[in-house]
Assembly symmetry: C2
């Protein structure tokens, strides 16, 4: 499985927009802006912004609003990694092949850099070139996706609480759909709304996003077992070491692979009514499940 | 100086709205919602929501939007206290007369509860009953006030970096206007916009909010020296112990009192063109400077 051919162009557009949306390293207080930029530019794949952008493109050629929303989603994703890596949480030293934020800038600055990125995300959305009525919907969707009720923070809480315990399948599903799928789904929904999609199309893409986001985390669990730290750019084998609730641990690798494949199939089915318009989202979905890092 | 007579009615309206805006303790994951509610309902004065509400009342009788925005501002204020109290930052055990969030729920949950409150703040704003065009302005203002560039997080960073060092008057001013004044100013500006104020009036209230918020922090510095932990509901004398950059330490108590009085006078001058309409904001300003806790 290779990267879709449009991936690089999208990636470059996002990088340029992130560069513009973040305060420069010389803006006071310099330390926090250096810390925020360090983690944002540590080499992320930009999965969420690209999904946002490509969801918008299905409905509209003017992509400025979706690109800006994509930056906000990447800020939220990045803040969550910085906070998750903290000693009080996953206590990880390596992320995307580099020292984690708190290892470089210290714990206090890492907490504040995360807070700064989360705040900047919503300020960026508030000023995005999207019609106000759609813009408030996007902000509400992103807030819910990143929040505590079946959103990213809620999933992280459930993940922390499940550590070292025997969990059931329903809890495992809750964790994965909240911790990871919610923000991926939110990225696609935000893009669709920014692009002016009709409500029925937004709901169809919401289902697609949930399924592909869920598959994404199942694949993450598998890769944590199968791949090396070098390939992943983060400490491999951490899940097992920390007795995390993962699909790999609960179902085994083979069954986990078939669950991911099944979720992918169900996700792609949601795209069928869109026909060729959804080709890029389809390619992205396939790439996200087949990836090796 | 007594509390203004309308204070209790506003306070009750805010308490009821906070109760509605926060997930219940039985909403999963229960732990984080308990942790969020613990700190929000730990007995805050609700200064920011009340300022927001009274700024809106100058322009409009429909206060629902401002009350909702006030809840969001209280969530942001509360998240900042939870994160500031963490061991990596101020390492404080006592807040509003109760154990701090991380002492009760642990460090991981305190970090996530702060993240959850900050996220909920913006989701609450996104769904507030304010016209979409004004709503996005409110979100943008609140984001900037809570952010890293001359906003709350930026001030906190400067505060952390100034600890134990000799700072100059300009740095001290930067810290106080960013760490504290920005969100108080943002609360007043948000209320004015939610109430439909004309741009010139918003700008006048922005200047009022900056000055009164700045005075508020100078008074905080004085009280940390003069009052007991019991009166403050937090550990008194911490500033000196942690060698914080404060007005009390830099200028001494007497000069700090005259600076606060001068800022109050300048703030009240900004209200003059509003005449009797600004009576409540005036009373609030006087109360905030004269308070003893």
């Amino acid at each position: 499985m290779t990267t879709p051919d449009f991936f690089q162009a999208d990636h470059s557009a996002i990088e340029a927009a992130l560069e513009r949306a973040l305060p420069s390293e010389t803006t006071p207080p310099e330390t926090i802006h250096r810390a925020m930029r360090y983690s944002v530019f540590a080499g992320g794949k930009r999965v969420r912004p690209i999904l946002c952008l490509e969801a918008a493109r299905m409905f509209n050629d003017n992509l400025e609003g979706a690109i800006r929303a994509g930056c906000a989603l990447e800020f939220i994703h990045t803040y969550s990694l910085i906070h998750d890596d903290l000693p009080a949480l996953d206590n990880d030293d390596l992320r995307r092949g580099k020292a984690t934020n708190h290892k470089v800038f210290g714990e206090a600055m890492a907490i504040l850099a995360g807070d700064g990125l989360l705040t900047l995300a919503f300020e960026t959305l508030a000023n995005a070139p999207i019609e106000p009525a759609q813009r408030v919907r996007v902000i509400s969707e992103v807030g819910a996706a990143a929040g505590t009720i079946r959103g990213m923070v809620g999933g992280q809480v459930a993940d922390v609480e499940a550590g070292g315990k025997a969990v059931d399948a329903a809890t495992l599903e809750y964790i994965h759909r909240s911790k990871t799928a919610a923000l991926i789904r939110g990225s696609i929904v935000a893009g669709a709304i920014a692009g002016g999609a009709a409500d029925a199309d937004v709901e169809r893409l919401r289902r697609f996003g949930d399924l592909i986001g869920w598959a994404f985390q199942v694949v993450d669990d598998i890769l944590d077992v199968e791949e090396s730290s070098a390939a992943l750019g983060k400490t491999a084998g951490k899940d097992q070491e920390q007795q995390k609730a993962t699909y790999a641990a609960y179902y085994g690798l083979q069954k986990s692979r078939s669950i991911a494949a099944d979720l992918e199939t169900r996700a792609l089915k949601e795209l069928e009514p869109f026909g060729g318009r959804a080709n890029r989202l389809k390619q992205l979905a396939q790439f996200l499940v087949a990836r090796r890092s």
